[in-house]
């Protein structure tokens, strides 16, 4: 399946932004392009570029129209984009281990997910923690990482009715994505476990713990370790 567009789409967004779209599906190839372009633009320190927001398949570039106009900016970005091939992606390539207690009050939907697939709860936990995940983007709320992809055997649709209150640290599944709620919020993902890690800290730069370019691995832990780690956080 062709996932990358033949050539990236450049779309005006409102009066102060530009969207560079590389594809319309969830794909490692597409996502990689997004993050490489993001990285290259930030290194180039283009005049007037204020902020970039990388997501699954596109990069939103905000600019200050009093510092640069639209056409010259597109020209510069197309020039950078043409040289992307072969660029290294990230300055950092970290493997982050995320301790998780699966099931019970920590993962109220683990039972549903295992019944949905005709698996034991332990098997769901094993499948979930048994592979490395790519960080596609941060979004939804401050510090929420969108990770993928989970094994097909545990991919599960969202809740029919979202919960009003999902606890901070909750680890969820939505179709083939998995993610972690950094703070208490409403949410519709199937919650299978919880981590004591603090995913967002306003005192830190960057404030988000998990970033695109990281590889995330979940490590099943017992309640006791969770409580000990919680005290340290």
């Amino acid at each position: 399946m062709q996932t990358l567009y033949q050539s990236a789409k450049y779309l005006p967004v409102g009066d102060n932004a530009l969207l560079v779209e590389f594809g319309s599906t969830v794909s490692l190839d597409v996502n990689r392009r997004v993050h490489v372009l993001d990285h290259v633009i930030s290194k180039a320190k283009l005049k007037g570029v204020k902020e970039c927001v990388p997501t699954y398949r596109s990069l939103l570039i905000y600019y200050d129209p009093s510092e640069t106009s639209y056409e010259p900016l597109i020209f510069k970005i197309k020039d950078l984009e043409a040289k992307l091939e072969g660029s290294s992606v990230f300055a950092h390539e970290r493997v982050l281990e995320v301790p998780v207690v699966y099931g019970n009050e920590y993962g109220p939907d683990l039972g549903y997910v295992s019944r949905y697939h005709g698996l034991h709860e332990e098997e769901v936990a094993q499948l979930h923690s048994g592979r490395d995940y790519t960080v596609y983007m941060i979004g939804f709320v401050a510090g929420f990482p969108y990770l993928g992809e989970v094994a097909g055997e545990i991919a599960t649709p969202r809740l029919k009715t979202p919960r009003l209150r999902v606890l901070a640290g909750s680890v969820g599944i939505a179709e083939k994505q998995t993610g972690i709620y950094p703070c208490e919020s409403p949410g519709g993902w199937q919650i299978i476990g919880r981590t004591p890690l603090r995913l967002f800290d306003i005192e830190k730069r960057p404030p988000a713990l998990i970033l695109p370019g990281d590889t995330v691995r979940f490590r099943p832990v017992e309640k006791e370790e969770f409580e000990n780690l919680s005290r340290d956080e």
Partner: protein
């Protein structure tokens, strides 16, 4: 140096501390937040001799009651909530001298949704991720990351000197809020998710703002916008002013506290000046959309920025 400014006797409907917003952190999932009506916000600061980005109170629909603990120079702009000091009517869009022990109260607004209270020196709350704006969902920014409650004590920065004389805003620079707004939009970035008929419906319909509207977004009631299919898009970034259309065809305008990413197709994005005007729209107000070309929208933004930078020069000096 900080000054005990006032005690919140009644918080009003929804009162928060805001500045012009938090920039540079959308990539980490942090919304921009900040004043919904940047024009009225900026004017309030200028009327007390502040910098345009100093923190103010944003007051929504029903005003608070504040007991002043020290002398203060303040200004109220935006929607007229019939403010009184010790039960005597005071004017909006001009500098006011308030004395220790006096109570500032508000009625409710007939026209407009939000008022701004600036105080000489600015409200003193910590700068979090580069801004003093409140982000309620993340529990940070503003006053302890939340709206004001009764009993809260607000501080102001003690500025070098109080103003010797005040200012007022000439009438022609004071906007009228009529409850009807024509909103300029740039179509896209996902116009290809909609049928021709859907786009036509969107651009010709009258939409009513529902009560499910807040700083995150405005849900609209009106003609359903037809989509080509009911497939949502793979999530991408949501700029302030984006208009997304979920499967039910009812547009939602995403405002300053909206989440940074989402998966509903976006039919259009409101221009920056009109996002600010939308800050004064309240439930049951009516909105129509009008399409502008991206280049026309950019010209409009430059004019808007120029007008804001010249606003200070339009103030008229007056005795306090």
């Amino acid at each position: 140096m900080n000054l005990k400014l006032c005690e919140v006797a009644k918080p009003g409907f929804f009162t928060t501390v805001q500045d012009l917003g938090r920039f540079g952190f959308q990539r980490y999932g942090v919304p921009v937040s900040g004043a919904m009506d940047t024009y009225a916000f900026t004017a309030a600061n200028l009327l007390v001799g502040n910098k345009p980005n100093d923190a103010c109170l944003e007051i929504t629909l029903i005003g608070p009651k504040l007991l002043f603990l020290s002398e203060a120079q303040i200004a109220l702009t935006g929607a007229a909530f019939y403010p009184t000091v010790n039960e005597e009517r005071v004017a909006c869009w001009q500098t006011l001298q308030v004395h220790k022990g006096e109570a500032l109260s508000f009625g409710s607004s007939q026209n407009g949704c939000r008022a701004y209270l600036a105080v000489r020196g600015g409200i003193n709350v910590p700068v979090v991720l580069g801004s003093r704006s409140t982000y309620g969902r993340g529990d940070f920014g503003g006053f302890h990351g939340r709206r004001l409650n009764a009993g809260d004590l607000l501080e102001a920065h003690e500025s070098t000197a109080p103003l010797a004389s005040g200012f007022w805003m000439p009438t022609e620079a004071v906007p009228e809020y009529t409850g009807e707004l024509l909103v300029e939009v740039v179509l896209g970035p996902q116009t290809d998710c909609f049928t021709e008929r859907g786009l036509e419906t969107f651009l010709s319909g009258v939409y009513e703002v529902t009560t499910e509207s807040d700083r995150m977004g405005y849900r609209l009631e009106g003609a359903e916008v037809e989509r080509k299919d009911l497939m949502d898009i793979v999530s991408d970034a949501i700029p302030v002013g984006a208009i997304q259309v979920p499967r039910n065809g009812k547009p939602i305008i995403l405002m300053r506290d909206a989440q940074s990413t989402g998966g509903y197709p976006k039919i259009a994005v409101v221009t920056t000046p009109d996002v600010s005007r939308l800050g004064q729209v309240k439930p049951r107000d009516r909105i129509r959309f009008s399409k502008v070309s991206p280049s026309k929208a950019r010209e409009g933004l430059l004019e808007h920025l120029k007008a804001l930078s010249m606003l200070k020069g339009r103030l008229v000096e007056s005795e306090l």
